[in-house]
Symmetry: D2
Subunit: 101 residues, 4 copies
């Protein structure tokens, strides 16, 4: 189990390495995209709808990164919750985090 290798205390779960690296890669791309929108806004000729579209594109990229993280969490921590005996806590925590979509 990947989480047993990395946690420092028994109660601490941590992210599967693969999800961590893939999420970082995607967020880095989103960061670059965001930088390019900030530069685009230096131009007095920038057009609102173009900016809106670019912002939506970055939001889509962040959703994609969020999906990677969520899938890793479900696999490594939620699917194993009944075995660990902490289903209730881990599900409440996740529902809370998903709320602010």
């Amino acid at each position: 189990m990947p989480q047993t290798a990395c946690h420092t205390e028994p109660q601490h779960l941590c992210m599967p390495e693969d999800a961590r690296k893939r999420a970082a890669r995607r967020l880095n791309i989103a960061r670059g995209h965001l930088e390019s929108i900030v530069r685009m806004l230096d131009d007095p000729d920038a057009y609102c709808v173009d900016v809106l579209r670019q912002i939506k594109a970055v939001q889509g990229a962040l959703s994609g990164a969020g999906e990677v993280v969520l899938r890793g969490h479900l696999q490594a921590h939620v699917a194993t919750a009944a075995q660990r005996g902490d289903s209730e806590e881990i599900i409440e925590e996740l529902m809370e985090a998903l709320k602010y979509t």
Copy 2:
């Protein structure tokens, strides 16, 4: 009318300066936040749900920036569309851009 001052050809509308600067400021903050999530993911102890929450926070910031841009667009370009006579085009364009929320 701010858009007459900045466009280079009569058909080209551009963003009100105030919205442009405020959106840039907000996107810059979101970019910094995104960088900190990427750094957070360097830590093998990073926890999925913490990362999810941070991603949501950045998405919230992007929505805020999008709102600034949308409000500026409605004010400068949509509210004046009947006067310019391009209501239909400008509304289709906006509806299209809003779709990918």
Copy 3:
């Protein structure tokens, strides 16, 4: 202008008839779909993910109806706001209503 025909006082804008009828038609279909989900939930064999998918489908239908209403509003009331002189109020009102997406 459709709104002048139907309002009872000069300050009262109302929905373009076409948008009103199309939105009603779509919401009626969504209502029927929702009824069928409620019936589906009478069956002890109902499966969570099927129900989730059906709920999402209804949410998509409501978004479609919302788009019809929004497009009608932009056309009939927002695009004409500079002519009426109430851009600021009408845009704040709309931004407020869009917030709870």
Copy 4:
């Protein structure tokens, strides 16, 4: 385990009864709300922004019902997936269903 009591074949998981009843109750309320919006649209004086707000309110109610279903699914089927040995399938299925938010 509630799912073993209700399924007719071993591979078929079904919804926890409590979630099923609570979701039905909420969807029924949403259906009533939707009916009242359809009636509201019979009135030629209906105002776009009021209709938009009502549609958002129903979308909020559907999200609430979706949350009930999702929480029940996580508890009854996802948290027990490693024990059953179908984590991968059940997570892909859920990620797919969540996508269309």
